[in-house]
């Protein structure tokens, strides 16, 4: 079902429903259209009944969720639960077996690579660079989706890229070689590239893996800040439930390719639900300073 099909289908249901209620079709059509427009613009990312397999192995099964505008949604689950695959499906890298993914109401399957890259930027766990690119060159690559294939970055693009680095407080890295900078700095540079891509949706795959505690906090604070300031919808996979508890507005719990629970962080982050997903007893507690924490029960 394409984006427009979905729109008209929903419209039809709405018309029927409101027809019975108000008995005047002309007014109800008007209301339904407005409502639909609002619904679509409020939901930058909708995933409906997505299935995906690697050969015979079902990696994702009937995944359905949506993420509200400018919120941070955490994808949690044990290793192999399908988190990274789901991000791949949303960014259009992996072809869906069935189901649909809508970016601002447009179906990913119907969009070109460029169109997807104008809606969704991806911050990978680690970049696959082979050649020692300069940090500024790495960031400038974020301009590719808005350039024709024969175009190269302009001076204005360079200024814009330097501006983004400045905002993130890492302008002095611009001339350094990407492989020479630290893990935390690399992650910040990739976030800078994603910001230059100027998309409404940002996907991050384990943004804090391989980072020490200080850098984990630094990166997640930064993600929270850019999400708030730029009104970016963030979907990120995380391993640490404590980070998710603190930084995410929404949580999706995945296990064996299925959603076990989803909703607001406080609703989802409950000991029973987490214990089910991770297969280990966990407890939620509150520190003396009032911070909520998740700890395994076996630590008692």
């Amino acid at each position: 079902m394409g984006g427009s099909d979905f729109y008209f289908y929903s419209l039809f249901v709405d018309i029927k429903f409101t027809f019975i209620k108000y008995e005047t079709i002309s007014i109800t059509v008007h209301i339904s259209k407005e409502m639909m427009k609002k619904t679509i613009s409020n939901l930058p990312l909708q995933v409906k009944g997505v299935n995906f397999s690697y050969g015979k192995k079902n990696v994702l099964r009937n995944i359905t969720f949506s993420v509200p505008h400018a919120s941070i949604c955490g994808l949690l689950g044990p290793n192999g639960s399908g988190k990274t695959t789901l991000l791949g499906c949303i960014s259009g890298i992996k072809k869906l077996e069935s189901g649909s993914i809508f970016l601002h109401g447009k179906a990913v399957q119907m969009m070109t690579r460029k169109e997807i890259a104008r809606e969704v930027s991806v911050v990978p766990q680690q970049t696959g660079f082979i050649f020692p690119f300069k940090v500024l060159d790495m960031v400038l690559m974020g301009k590719a989706p808005v350039k024709e294939i024969w175009e190269t970055p302009s001076l204005a693009d360079r200024e814009e890229a330097l501006g983004v680095l400045e905002r993130l407080g890492i302008r002095e890295l611009s001339g350094r070689t990407f492989q020479q900078i630290s893990g935390g700095e690399k992650q910040m540079v990739l976030i800078a590239r994603s910001l230059l891509q100027n998309t409404d949706i940002m996907l991050l795959d384990e943004p804090t893996s391989h980072l020490d505690m200080k850098n984990q906090i630094l990166i997640l604070d930064l993600i929270k800040k850019v999400s708030y300031e730029n009104r970016i919808t963030v979907l990120m996979t995380l391993h640490d439930p404590n980070l998710a508890l603190h930084y995410c507005d929404q949580i999706i719990l995945l296990k064996n390719g299925q959603i076990m629970s989803q909703g607001n962080t406080s609703e989802v982050m409950q000991s029973q639900k987490l214990s089910n997903v991770y297969g280990i007893e966990v407890e939620l507690g509150i520190t003396s300073k009032g911070t909520r924490v998740v700890v395994p029960s076996c630590w008692r």
Partner: protein
């Protein structure tokens, strides 16, 4: 200077005189008649061809290293040269030395070779950069065997000498006709690669990352490989197999201007052109006979590959 030196020496003032005669449409003085023939018909087309071939081989090498994300590859290492050599040989046996047939067959088999090497490398379970090099060795072996078979069945008086010419590589027989035949192909291929140069940076990050940055990876890869193979095949069908330039020059250029393909593409081409002109000048001047050019490039290139392999252990290039 390259044009001046050689068995028949042409002093600079003679060259200037010959050029000014041409420009002002004056008749060449009788004492300059022989130098005129040497200059216009032998040295100049040869020097131009050396510059062009050096530039396109270095360019194709740079593009291959970016597309395959592998600093150890070049058109000759991935079997393009062997494939194109075989194609050229096959064309000579089937239709004779028609420039169009030789170039087309060289292109088709060059392309087949690189696709085969890439597929073997991709299907291998190991993801190491050296696997692709080994795949190139396999493809090269197959096409070299094919070329040997062609030599075996070739007419020893007409076809065989023409085929042997390719395996050596060189600019000794270059005339203006060769330049005219290859120049449009070189310009077309180079223009495509030049205009698409920035996307090579993105492609070199890997397929998934390039896709998320909006690059149509499959389409771009086909464009890069086809354009590079076209210019290499055209070069091979005219000047034979000249190895190693495509591997060494991109590295030299990267050391000087860095890995950003926006600048690397042009710089590597200029470097390749200068290098080839120097090598060709040396090949025809350091001994009384002419040394085949691939011998010269191999002497420099092979140790360089050894150096790269050893350095690979330490860094990511």
């Amino acid at each position: 200077m390259s044009i001046g030196v050689g068995l028949y020496s042409l002093p600079m003032e003679v060259i200037f005189e010959l050029v000014s005669c041409k420009l002002t449409n004056r008749a060449v003085p009788s004492e300059l008649f022989s130098p005129s023939v040497v200059f216009w018909s032998v040295r100049l087309p040869r020097a131009i061809m050396a510059l062009l071939v050096g530039a396109v081989l270095a360019l194709a090498g740079t593009v291959f290293q970016g597309v395959f994300r592998n600093p150890l590859v070049s058109p000759d290492i991935l079997g393009v040269s062997a494939g194109a050599g075989f194609g050229a040989g096959l064309a000579i046996i089937l239709v004779g030395r028609s420039a169009l047939a030789v170039q087309s067959m060289a292109f088709i088999f060059g392309l087949a070779a690189v696709v085969a090497a890439y597929q073997i490398g991709r299907r291998s379970r190991s993801d190491s950069v050296t696997v692709l090099v080994l795949a190139g060795v396999i493809v090269t072996a197959i096409f070299t065997a094919g070329l040997s078979f062609l030599k075996y069945v070739a007419d020893p008086y007409e076809q065989l000498p023409a085929i042997v010419f390719w395996t050596m590589g060189g600019f000794s027989d270059i005339v203006w006709k060769d330049v005219y035949w290859t120049l449009p192909v070189f310009i077309a291929g180079t223009a495509v690669l030049f205009f698409l140069r920035w996307r090579l940076d993105l492609l070199s990050l890997g397929d998934e990352e390039a896709l998320t940055l909006g690059v149509d990876v499959k389409k771009m890869r086909v464009l890069y490989i086809s354009a590079s193979t076209l210019i290499v095949a055209s070069s091979i069908s005219t000047c034979g197999t000249i190895g190693w330039v495509g591997l060494v020059m991109p590295h030299m250029a990267r050391l000087i201007v860095g890995p950003n393909h926006q600048f690397l593409i042009s710089f590597a081409s200029v470097l390749g052109a200068i290098f080839m002109l120097i090598i060709d000048t040396l090949a025809r001047t350091i001994s009384s006979g002419e040394i085949p050019i691939s011998i010269m490039t191999s002497v420099i290139g092979a140790p360089f590959l050894a150096y790269l392999l050893l350095r690979q252990e330490e860094s990511n290039f």
